[in-house]
Symmetry: C2
DNA sequence: AATTTATATGAATATTTGTTCATACATTCA
DNA sequence: TGAATGTATGAACAAATATTCATATAAATT
């Protein structure tokens, strides 16, 4: 019965660790200037890759690479329109997380 | 007068970039499993270095290094009590940011 | 079909970053 | 004062990551 408790505790820790890792992974995505700029740009309106690239003055390649990261993390979504790909925020959580961080910065 | 506008725009971008960088720097700190674990541990109660080290099963040195990062970012504060240093969350923003990320994870 | 425009991607490189190990610093206690 | 305990820190190494460059893929237009 002690063993049972011990294993329960270990499971709990394991579960927590998974949550912690997920949290860290999420924040890691926000932890890059280029990606934060892209996300903030998309906060204002959806944009295609060229527009993001020009607006933020970042290489098209760099933008594409980072959009891939953002999409993999489910922070942005995309749809095709002819030759261009239009990107937008995946949901309101993204805005919420940005705002949350902003509040800490302005102190 | 056009020049004036241009420089205003440039200033605006510059200001924004600084904000973006600050945001990214903040999230970068949250973007590590060890640091998230430490912060979450301190969410429950203040702890000294040894306690954190044992609780999370992380080397004392690694904990100290990360506590330094967390303190530099004003996410934790510390006070001395005899031979030990007691660490706690710097303010409620930390809790808010963690909760904000959690909400996105649980989807 | 060939060309042009928009985007994605792989490889290479440089930089950043986290941990470990050894050791220094600080405080208490004998 | 010397020993013991708790914490901090520097150097070194390994791993992760962002950008660039070249090129591939995809859609539209002629």
């Amino acid at each position: 019965m002690e063993n049972e408790n011990v294993s329960k505790i270990k499971e709990a820790i394991l579960r927590n660790n998974e949550v912690f890792d997920a949290l860290a992974e999420l924040y890691k995505v926000f932890g890059d200037g280029t990606r934060v700029r892209i996300l903030c740009a998309l906060t204002q309106s959806e944009m295609n890759v060229s527009e993001i690239s020009e607006f933020l003055d970042i290489t098209q390649s760099a933008v594409s690479h980072q959009l891939r990261v953002l999409k993999t993390s489910s922070l942005v979504k995309s749809r095709r329109s002819g030759k261009t790909m239009i990107y937008s925020l995946a949901d309101e959580h993204v805005r919420a997380i940005i705002d949350c961080g902003m509040e800490h910065i302005v102190e």
